[in-house]
Subunit: 223 residues, 2 copies
DNA sequence: GATAGTTTCATACAACTGTTTGAAATGCAA
DNA sequence: TTGCATTTCAAACAGTTGTATGAAACTATC
């Protein structure tokens, strides 16, 4: 079908433009000009501008969620049904940080698009994010299994803070680089993941965590 | 001067409308209708819509920054020029959280406006935020004085994570309430501040912190 | 009370927005 | 080839937006 070609061209052009210039100043006319298709094609194939944005975001969002759940399941199977709290946090923040930070974030439009979606906040995306709670509940459940003694509220705060550090790092990447005058290496994604996981675990258990065996933090902590 | 009256009416109406409905769908015509002034008054008194938004944000932002620095100075004086790291974090996140969370956040339009400014991200506000780095440097300097042995990068990451937790809590307040089914009490501002400070300190020093003497966390930790 | 400066007002402007329309082109099955 | 459905296209639509204009109303000074 030739229709899929047009659909795809629109999706590609839209993702690239939104990634580059943000949602605020990209019009349908910009998109169709980049995609070399007719103006009416957007409404024909997607119904409306908002539905186009929603489809872009849902696609990328589902992919990340899948990765997260895969990592979580792998960790739980390795631990015989109960994953370590550090592995749970790692599954939660790893995929997002790997996707939006690091060298790929310059090249991949998908990554840059997700960063935009994280910084700006347009109605169609906000609506989708509000339904994302179910996904987080699975992580809350895993945390409950991992730390059965903990108060529920503590677990939710731990989950919340882990996401806070991950998302804020993505959002404020530039500012942190400027503030620290380059002393914080935003390209060392795995190091950042180690940091976020370590802080999250320490916040919850009060114990210092070793991080992954190969992690830079682990090496540093061990002197 | 009657001009100040008009100016003030515009500022009030704009702040309220932006707080209630967000920046996305509030037009100048909405503002002047609420303020009972003429459409041209906005451009006459402020130059443009963006400058109106900027003035609103700068006013509130400066107020918060003043509070933060006051708390920081008080803490440093009390410690003879060197504040405890917990007091530094408290000065950093306390004013923001107190301003945007808690009972006042329902009533005060100023608080609701700042929450909006934190969630949505319009160009005039983004421009101002980018210049806010100088203010954070003062906190970085205080941290250096408080923990002279620490690596610079660790301090910046600590600062960054503290802000992350504070801002994310403000931004995702609703979602956390829904996710935790009310188990996380978002109205207990001082308890939240204790939590953020405790996690921030632990992340940096690896030691559990007691929080304020009167803090709920402190009481809980002590059994 | 005339004058100069400030502030208000109704109105128009010019541009841009997402969406719709109905006809033309295309693809595909019989 | 005929017929039907899908897809493209140019054009227009209807509405909104922030801003500019020039006259009118006001205020305070001399």
């Amino acid at each position: 079908m030739a229709s899929d070609q047009t659909r795809g061209a629109i999706l590609n052009a839209a993702e690239r433009l939104y990634a580059d210039r943000g949602f605020g100043d990209v019009t349908l006319r910009d998109i169709v000009a980049t995609a070399n298709v007719n103006l009416a094609a957007v409404n024909y194939h997607f119904g409306s501008k908002d539905e186009l944005i929603a489809e872009l975001f849902v696609t990328r969002s589902l992919a990340t969620n899948r990765e997260r759940l895969n990592e979580l399941k792998a960790a739980e199977q390795a631990g015989g049904g109960r994953a370590g709290i550090d592995a749970i946090f790692r599954a939660l923040v790893g995929p997002t940080l790997r996707g939006c930070l690091g060298p790929s974030s310059e090249s991949s439009t998908a990554a840059r698009f997700m960063i935009r979606a994280s910084i700006e906040s347009v109605p169609p995306i906000r609506r989708i994010k509000n339904r994302e709670v179910d996904h987080l509940r699975k992580f809350a459940a895993a945390m409950r299994r991992s730390l059965p003694g903990r108060a529920e509220a503590d677990l939710y705060w731990g989950l919340h803070f882990a996401l806070a550090m991950a998302h804020h790092t993505i959002r404020e990447r530039e500012r942190l680089t400027k503030l620290s005058e380059g002393k914080c290496d935003l390209d060392d994604v795995e190091g950042i993941i180690d940091r976020v996981v370590a802080v999250s675990v320490t916040a919850l258990t009060g114990e210092k965590v070793q991080g992954r065996p190969s992690g830079k933090l682990a090496a540093r902590e061990a002197h």
